[in-house]
């Protein structure tokens, strides 16, 4: 028997993130009293350093090519872009956590270790080209996120959100696995390339793909499998919501893309039609529900569901151009969505026992209190609605253009109509910020921690410039 060839250099960024997670834990064991000596942010510094190092390794790595670890993971252009978007989202979310976490918890090392494990799970998921690896990566990220969702233990809604997320997440794993077992039955393989090469048809492949889509649909919060998402997003600490709403979507979409490509024997029309209807349902339900929310965070949660619908349009298109557009939109989404959650987190009043959620009118009169914050928030809202020349506009443009090119014009039209609906609730926030008087409950002094300010500045800059400058980099990644 020949020993497997392992090229660890291809998974260097993932290893860096994993090792950093372990280091954060070990550091807490070795220096338990570091917190009392003014080094309470040491785990955050370490985690941020790990994320930045992983990002640099991803950027500076030469041409990534080929599979490693016995054809279980692949390092390709798709994985590189996914790495970058996940690490970007993670770093921005970490900047938010920096000032947010001390409001309610002293267990920083646990928080950051779990956070990094979730990141590692997402990175591995993006590189998985084998069903077992895919499943294990998905569970690494999910289990870490279940705990992070309920991390605010003084807050009742947090535990509730975590339990709902956990029960439905585990439930959906059952479907995903059943699908994987049927793939295995049809082909005897778990590597996606082998599954594709078998070109097996028949009931097992079709049923397997259907169950797999249900499982991934839960993780992606695609309607009708989205019911956990509003609660989980609302109950989780806001930085976690910001990070997971982008990171999980990105990683699961890449996995979805790889799986539907591998199930080549199932007629494209079948799964694409199914996904198209899911996409339509998701954006419509998400937007309609977002219209009638009284909490800013919950509104953003539903907006996030709607965006899962937009992103699916690119997968439905089935072409490389379509998935390039998905990757582009994910970057744009990372900037504008995390920016919006950042401002929501600044408007909240987190305490040890409970968080007072930012209501839909919490941003009213923000322009008078913190003008630059209001301008940034206006940008995020307009970009989420898809108004030029912001990043979200270009993202939607490419997504819908790819859909039209591959004959899904009606889906593109539905997407545009949905954007119009969504503009109502996004613009309501903007109008409130500039026109309305601050609500009576708005605290007079809005604290502005440096780390969160940095996050807002970075996301605002990204939202403004990404669409204008980044387009040339997103050609032919997905091939």
């Amino acid at each position: 028997m020949s020993l497997p060839t392992l090229d660890f250099s291809l998974i260097l960024p993932e290893l860096v993130v994993l090792i950093t997670a372990l280091l954060v834990l070990i550091a807490d064991l070795l220096w338990p009293r570091a917190a009392s000596r003014g080094r309470e942010q040491a785990p955050a510094v370490l985690a941020l350093a790990g994320l930045i190092l992983a990002g640099l390794l991803t950027l500076l790595a030469g041409e990534w090519s080929g599979a490693t670890l016995q054809g279980m993971l692949v390092a390709d252009a798709l994985a590189r872009y996914l790495n970058l978007v996940v690490l970007l989202a993670a770093a921005l979310g970490l900047l938010l956590s920096w000032s947010y976490l001390p409001h309610f918890s002293t267990q920083r090392s646990e928080y950051y270790a779990l956070y990094l494990l979730a990141v590692a799970g997402m990175l591995f998921l993006g590189k998985s080209i084998e069903l077992i690896t895919l499943f294990v990566s998905l569970e690494i990220l999910s289990i870490a996120l279940y705990v992070l969702t309920g991390f605010h233990r003084g807050q009742l809604a947090g535990g509730e959100a975590a339990l709902k997320y956990f029960l439905l997440g585990a439930f959906s794993s059952g479907f995903l696995l059943y699908g994987a077992a049927l793939f295995y039955a049809a082909t005897g393989a778990t590597r996606l390339a082998d599954i594709a090469a078998q070109n097996a048809g028949g009931f097992y492949m079709l049923a397997g793909l259907a169950l797999f889509l249900v499982g991934l649909g839960f993780k992606l919060a695609v309607a009708p499998f989205h019911m956990w998402a509003p609660d989980a997003y609302q109950g989780a600490p806001t930085p976690v919501t910001a990070f997971m709403s982008v990171g999980t979507k990105a990683a699961a979409l890449v996995a979805l893309f790889r799986v539907v490509q591998a199930a080549g024997s199932v007629p494209v029309g079948v799964w694409a039609t199914a996904l198209a209807f899911l996409s339509l349902l998701t954006m419509t339900l998400g937007n309609l529900a977002a219209l009638r929310q009284s909490s800013l965070k919950r509104m953003l949660a539903y907006s996030s569901i709607a965006h899962a619908g937009y992103l699916l349009v690119g997968v439905v298109a089935g072409t490389a151009a379509g998935f390039d557009a998905v990757l582009f939109y994910l970057f744009a989404y990372a900037f504008m969505n995390i920016g919006a959650f950042a401002i929501a987190s600044l408007l909240e009043r987190p305490g040890f026992y409970a968080v007072q959620d930012a209501g839909i009118h919490a941003a009213d009169g923000l322009f008078g209190r913190r003008p630059w914050l209001a301008v940034a928030m206006a940008m995020f809202m307009l970009s989420l609605a898809g108004i030029p020349p912001l990043a979200g506009f270009f993202g939607k443009l490419y997504l819908f253009a790819a859909a039209v090119e591959s004959g899904w014009a009606w889906l593109a039209v539905a997407g545009v109509l949905n954007s119009v609906i969504s503009a109502y609730y996004y613009l309501r926030v903007v109008v409130g910020m500039f026109m309305a008087e601050p609500s009576a409950s708005a605290h007079l002094r809005l604290p502005l921690p440096a780390s969160a300010t940095l996050a807002v500045a970075l996301t605002a800059l990204g939202t403004l410039l990404f669409g204008l400058l980044a387009t040339p980099w997103f050609q032919g990644i997905s091939r």
Binding site: I143, A157, G159, F166, S173
Partner: protein, 103 residues
């Protein structure tokens, strides 16, 4: 006598359905978790049956089942911890009593 594959598949499908029903019908969070575990173990039966009956040459099915087992255990541990944490603050683990968030 060799037991035909279809028997295993029917058993697994029945177990999966029982678990599925448990998740939908039970109100106690621990019982829901048990339903989920039933579903995962039904998949394990499937994997092993497929391995034995269709693809016995390589051990893939067995290895997959081992990974499913371990991940399910990790999941159960996290789930129980969450349930304990909720019980401490709410004094209940009835799923339909957890209704702080609406809309």
């Amino acid at each position: 006598m060799v037991i035909p594959l279809s028997w295993y598949l029917i058993l697994a499908a029945a177990l999966f359905s029982i678990g599925f029903f448990g998740v939908l019908a039970r109100r106690n969070a621990v019982a829901v978790l048990m339903g989920v575990e039933l579903m995962l173990n039904a998949v394990n039966i499937n994997l092993l049956a497929f391995w034995r009956a269709i693809h016995p040459a390589e051990l893939t099915g067995q290895i997959f089942a081992i990974f499913v087992l371990t991940v399910a255990a990790a999941e159960a541990a996290v789930g129980l911890a969450l349930i304990i944490s909720i019980y401490r603050s709410r004094r209940t683990i009835q799923v339909d009593a957890l209704d702080l968030m609406k809309g």
